[in-house]
């Protein structure tokens, strides 16, 4: 017994003595440690959140890729395509193999679309207007749409191509020929062509990815060999880990104070912008915001400069930049930065005096899971009080909020949401917010009904020339500025604290950035500095 106790004590001592050695990975292998608050969903057919997207962009590939720096899409798995507006025919590259070793074929593309549409989860709604896809031959695939839908090419950024043979060999329990469509298998395994393979996946802890040496574009030697994508770390834990050199890139959800203190200690601040905004939404279906003048009064009373200062990290880095309209500055059809909103108390008072509703009390809601919104609710309360508008601040849990907004009478006068364009295309940002057919969701608590806006949003979907689309979105941006259904508080910028061990050009050099949120975390484009 004594010997056993001594052995255990010796082992414990040895473990403790090896602290420094064990905490650091071996020099030969570079390990990148990144975190995200929400657990990453590995099944590419269900990917919606940030972590899901990051995993998808690294484990899977798509027919087209978001262009670095310029926006738009460029060929990726597809080397070329032709379209008549309703059909899209893609010619696939011939040198692509899945991580399993299976060659990429047109059948895999058809299977991936069928799987996504059948599961009906994630971002499958983007393909609701796609009638189907067919393999013309081994390397040619044709998509047929119900109606012309110009954002289709950018929607393909959300159609990861899955290894049909591998999935079919691993079908789980379920009904019919396709059983579970490989859901059980793909929830813990990868079946893509991507630059990184899934090594392990523990939803409570992390997903471990390793470099795919056979990637068709090659993976640079300086890209991390292993990536540990950690989940649910507390802000205090991330702060301590980065300060101790045991973590490399934080999520964008760290409080500004923590980001500031990490920056002060020498951490670099990485940024991602252009695809999302912070919107203060007014319910136009009930008083007082059924009156345009009341909407214009609060929009002019809102202190835009204070809002930007509230999310500033340093003198040069902020989690927000001035907004000029519903589309973030730089996105196709957006209004120029020079047109950014400014506070105008005189105009606010004038509009208030012309509003038909008098002596009302606004309900200012904020989402309980987003503490930052409480600060904005209080800012608005103070701003509106300056022109004599009374308001009550109300905390609403997200789950309740999504139910409340389904009926205009239950929807608060003011709601606050962050919205991002899931494909980088303006259609996926503002169609769901402002088209009258889309009213009553978390994105559209404004209940806006405007024929002109509907017409322009539909036009943005149907015209094919990029210039015509851009013109339609510019026009709708101007129309929305006139109608002011929302206060465009700021264009959102994701800020990540990072150690000096890693260089991320896509998140530090605007000429190499992507217009699609999450794509900056393409690990093969990162460089480890030691």
């Amino acid at each position: 017994m004594k010997t056993m106790v001594k052995s255990l004590a010796a082992a414990l001592f040895a473990g403790t003595a090896l602290t420094a050695h064990l905490a650091s990975p071996a020099l030969a292998e570079t390990v990148l440690r990144v975190d995200e608050v929400a657990v990453g969903e590995l099944d590419p057919g269900k990917a919606t959140d940030y972590a899901d997207s990051v995993l998808m962009f690294n484990v899977y590939d798509t027919l087209v890729l978001s262009a670095q720096g310029s926006g738009g899409v460029v060929p990726h798995l597809a080397e070329s395509w032709e379209t008549d507006g309703v059909t899209y025919t893609f010619k696939l590259r011939g040198d692509v193999k899945f991580q399993s070793g299976n060659p990429l074929t047109a059948e895999d593309v058809v299977f991936s679309l069928d799987r996504m549409k059948t599961l009906g989860q994630g971002l499958s709604y983007l393909f609701a207007g796609v009638q189907g896809a067919e393999a013309v031959d081994g390397s040619t695939v044709k998509f047929t749409l119900s109606n012309p839908y110009s954002p289709f090419l950018s929607a393909l950024l959300r159609l990861p191509i899955v290894d049909k043979k591998l999935v079919m060999a691993n079908l789980g329990e379920g009904d019919g020929e396709m059983k579970d469509w490989g859901q059980a298998f793909l929830s813990t395994n990868g079946a893509g062509t991507g630059a990184y393979k899934v090594v392990s996946h523990n939803p409570q802890q992390e997903t471990v990815l390793a470099k795919n040496a056979d990637y068709f574009l090659g993976v640079p030697a300086k890209a991390p060999d292993t990536v540990r994508y950690r989940y649910g770390l507390e802000a205090a834990t991330v702060r301590t880990l980065i300060a101790q050199g045991e973590h490399d890139i934080s999520s964008q959800w760290l409080p500004p104070e923590v980001l500031k203190s990490l920056a002060a200690e020498g951490a670099q601040l990485l940024t991602e912008s252009g695809g999302s905004g912070f919107y203060v939404k007014m319910n136009t279906a009930k008083p007082p915001f059924d009156d345009l003048n009341c909407r214009l009064a609060v929009a002019n009373a809102f202190d835009y400069d204070a809002a930007i200062k509230m999310v500033a990290i340093t003198d040069t880095v902020s989690q927000g930049s001035p907004a000029s309209g519903p589309l973030p500055v730089g996105m196709m059809g957006s209004l120029p930065a020079a047109d950014a909103f400014k506070r105008d108390l005189d105009a606010a008072k004038k509009h208030l005096s012309e509003c038909q509703h008098k002596d009302f009390t606004l309900e200012l809601s904020w989402i309980g899971e987003v503490p930052l919104e409480e600060r904005f609710a209080l800012l608005m309360q103070a701003n509106f009080a300056e022109i004599g508008i009374k308001s009550e601040v109300k905390k609403v849990p997200w789950a309740l909020f999504t139910e409340m907004v389904t009926k205009p009478e239950n929807t608060p006068n003011i709601s606050q949401v962050f919205v991002n364009a899931v494909t980088g295309d303006p259609d996926t940002l503002i169609y769901g917010m402002y088209h009258s057919s889309a009213s009553g969701t978390w994105q559209s608590p404004e209940y806006l009904k405007d024929a002109k806006v509907d017409e322009l949003l539909d036009k943005g979907r149907t015209v094919t020339a990029q210039e015509d689309r851009a013109a339609a979105y510019t026009e709708v941006s101007k129309r929305l500025r006139e109608l002011q259904p929302s206060i465009y508080a700021y264009d959102q910028t994701g800020v990540f604290a990072a150690s000096k061990r890693v260089s991320v050009p896509a998140l530090s050099d605007p000429s190499k950035g992507f217009s699609l949120n999450g794509m900056g975390f393409t690990f093969r484009l990162m460089e480890m500095n030691e």
Partner: protein, 341 residues
């Protein structure tokens, strides 16, 4: 029937009734709190059709009584359904995450006994001396602050300013141990890897100590007050007058009866830690069931909520039965009262 067996049968019967009650209660509560689980699971971009389809697949479009019927039928087959949070069977999640929490709680429980009881004995033995005052002050601090505060303080002190212990996780990234039991300290020994065992033990020290501090304080203070009371009993005075050694009086005559309330508290604390460990697990990125439980509650993941609460309740009841048996073993009066009844 021997009294201990009768006691065990009685306690197990009561526990089963409690467990059925808990399952009905949590099943109902989880369904009446605001928010549509299908909407939350599918994310903010899901269409109304997608939400409706998932509601139908989860039987959420049926009356709650019918839903409970489905749940009980599935439970009989050992199926707790699929978690919308992890997209895996809830049983798979529980099997993966429960050992991490149990290991943490067990080590914390050992710390409570190893530190809490002796501190109480020493404090009582040297009552009103500086040693007693020091122990009382330290244990008061332990009881006063919640575990997550201690977690952050310990992390800052012993992982950040004085980097003696790791900040997060159960084992260093460079080590891979095949999972047999899920208890890393056991699996490392099964694998015969003493270095990994030491590493796992090194990782568990801070979170377990943060979790145990409150219990250590409670156990020490309770043991002290009970022992002080016991020391005033006539039979202790008699033992002292017979000239028995002090160690024998403290250990055999004063400590044993004083231990019963402490043991009850430790048992309750131990069971409560299963549910309360989530903040410590969150701070130390410990992939356990408590943290999972909170995550699924926030996402209104109905199957996972019910599964987690049931498992934690079952653990709570099992620990209570064990404590009852231990007390019966230590205290003959309880054994005999069972026989009499």
């Amino acid at each position: 029937m021997p009294p201990v067996v009768r006691l065990l049968a009685k306690r197990l019967g009561t526990s089963l009734v409690v467990l059925i009650g808990v399952s009905m209660l949590i099943f109902a509560i989880a369904r009446v709190i605001p928010g549509d689980p299908a909407r939350i699971a599918l994310g903010p971009n899901a269409s109304a059709d997608q939400v409706a389809a998932l509601r139908e697949r989860l039987n959420l479009d049926q009356p709650i009584v019918v839903q409970y019927g489905h749940f009980v039928a599935d439970l009989m087959r050992g199926d707790l359904g699929v978690s919308l949070y992890t997209n895996r069977p809830v049983t798979t999640d529980i099997v993966q995450f429960l050992p991490a929490t149990l290991e943490l709680v067990l080590v914390a429980g050992v710390m409570m006994v190893v530190f809490g009881l002796p501190l109480g004995v020493v404090s009582a033995r040297y009552r009103n001396s500086w040693i007693d005052n020091l122990v009382r002050l330290v244990t008061l601090l332990g009881v006063s602050a919640p575990a997550f505060v201690w977690a952050v303080i310990l992390m800052l002190a012993f992982a950040y300013f004085l980097p003696l212990f790791p900040i997060a996780g159960r084992i260093s990234d460079t080590m891979t141990i095949p999972t047999v039991t899920g208890f890393l300290m056991v699996d490392t020994l099964i694998a015969g890897d003493l270095r990994a065992f030491g590493n796992a033990a090194w990782h568990i020290v801070l979170p377990a100590f943060a979790l145990a501090l409150s219990g250590i304080g409670q156990a020490a203070r309770l043991t002290r007050s009970n022992m002080v009371e016991t020391y005033d009993k006539p039979y202790i005075e008699m033992a002292q007058s017979y000239g028995f050694p002090e160690r024998r009086i403290a250990g055999r005559y004063a400590f044993r009866p004083s231990m019963i309330p402490s043991l009850t508290i430790i048992g309750l604390d131990f069971a409560a830690m299963l549910g309360n460990a989530f903040l410590v697990e969150a701070v130390f990125a410990w992939p356990g069931l408590s943290r999972y439980g909170v995550a699924v509650i926030l996402r209104k993941d109905l199957n996972a909520i019910v599964g987690t609460v049931l498992i934690i309740s079952a653990m709570f009841l099992i620990v209570n039965v064990i404590v009852d048996l231990l007390i019966a073993f230590i205290n003959p009066r309880i054994r005999y009262s069972q026989r009499a009844s």
